[in-house]
């Protein structure tokens, strides 16, 4: 498998949020605005890349019985590092993301990649996998955050984009809005992918549908 392919698969085909439904808690909780989504996505990506690197280096030395606790310690260490560094240099964003930074530890996406990819592949491949999956996660959070911010606040990345006539539906930035927005985004993805499949499929399949 080429590196580019690994990267691409992580970005879309194995997209953590839209396809694997992993890392749902931060995806729903912090996406009240596009910028929060990006910040959370990048923080998780940083942890994912670092943990992928370390896990792929030490994989041969860890007895399989204790591999999960070992991975968790590695991930938790990187999360704490990110937590401290963000608190020091990106203090305001750290305040907004709050509780969900330490909770990156239990983002199943990160442990999942350590277990299913990094523990079986080389360091270089694991880095590309980390970047792909991480950016795919960031992208998903950005989309979800944008949809909620536009509908709930009439703005994107803080800039007002809708006219005076638009009355923001506050519910979209409240908790129920997170579920509803994600539901409709997933519907849209199902619809678009299915359409594309029909388009690309040979003719005889089309007539059946």
């Amino acid at each position: 498998m080429s590196l580019i392919k690994i990267f691409k698969e992580g970005l879309w085909k194995n997209n953590a949020v839209f396809k694997q439904v992993l890392g749902m808690c931060p995806a729903l909780a912090v996406t009240t605005s596009a910028i929060n989504g990006i910040a959370m996505g990048l923080a998780s990506t940083a942890v994912l890349i670092c943990s992928n690197i370390v896990v792929s280096i030490v994989k041969d030395y860890i007895p399989s019985k204790v591999r999960i606790p070992a991975y968790i310690v590695i991930i938790a260490s990187f999360v704490t590092v990110i937590d401290l560094v963000m608190n020091a240099y990106l203090h305001d964003i750290h305040k907004v993301l709050g509780l969900f930074i330490p909770l990156i530890v239990v983002n199943c996406m990160i442990l999942g990649r350590a277990e299913s990819f990094a523990s079986k592949n080389s360091v270089v491949k694991s880095i590309f996998d980390g970047i792909g999956i991480g950016l795919g996660f960031t992208f998903a959070l950005f989309i979800l955050g944008s949809v909620r911010e536009i509908l709930g606040n009439g703005s994107i990345l803080g800039f007002t984009v809708t006219g005076e006539w638009f009355k923001p539906a506050i519910v979209m930035i409240l908790p129920p809005g997170a579920f509803i927005a994600l539901g409709f985004i997933m519907f849209a993805i199902n619809y678009i992918e299915d359409r594309r499949k029909i388009k690309n499929a040979p003719k005889e399949h089309c007539s059946v549908g």
């Binding site: 204790v66 070992a70 704490t80 401290l84 608190n87 020091a88 203090h91 506050i170 930035i173 409240l174």
Partner: protein, 183 residues
């Protein structure tokens, strides 16, 4: 089997030891920076609540009954006092409010230091128009939401958060009025 168990323990111990070492290093190298970030945050709040001063109120502290009173001075002349006041009646837990009072007993400004109110509803207590409602009020005013017979506007869908802020402000103002200005 024993050999295997032994290896497991060793591996986990080594990993945990390395992790603890790395973390203590990162912690000690970011510690001052984090403390500074918290201080800057607090200073920004002080700048907002006091009209003008040229000392460092976060270091000019007077401790009264175990409460920190931050003193703002203009050319060594006291212009106001600030106090942190907490209400536990917030919707998502405690709300910390910084209240500044001028020497003639009027509120010069408030800032919400910490809260966990619902985004979109209760967190409107952070809006400027809401915080400005308290400006100029004295201990003689009835600082409470209108629902409770006071003079503070609550906003639609959320009474609890403004009520908690009002409570914190009223307590903080009373403290300064009684213990410092009243002397």
């Amino acid at each position: 089997m024993r050999d295997n168990n032994f290896k497991m323990v060793i591996v986990l111990t080594v990993i945990a030891a390395i992790a603890a070492f790395v973390l203590s290093f990162v912690y000690s190298s970011t510690k001052d920076k984090i403390a500074e970030a918290y201080r800057q945050e607090f200073l920004r709040a002080l700048v907002k609540v006091f009209p003008n001063y040229n000392n460092e109120p976060d270091k000019d502290i007077n401790i009264v009954d175990g409460q920190n009173i931050y003193i703002a001075k203009m050319d060594d002349k006291v212009v106001g006092y600030a106090i942190k006041s907490t209400s536990s009646k917030g919707y998502g837990g405690d709300i910390d409010v910084l209240i500044a009072v001028s020497t003639d007993g009027k509120i010069t400004g408030i800032e919400i230091l910490r809260h966990a109110e619902t985004p979109g509803l209760g967190d409107k207590i952070e809006d400027e128009w809401f915080k400005n409602l308290f400006k100029g009020l004295t201990a003689k005013d009835n600082i409470a939401v209108k629902k409770d017979g006071g003079i503070i506007d609550q906003f639609s869908g959320a009474t609890i958060s403004p009520r908690a802020v009002s409570e914190a402000v009223a307590n903080g103002l009373k403290f300064i009025d009684d213990k410092i200005l009243g002397k």
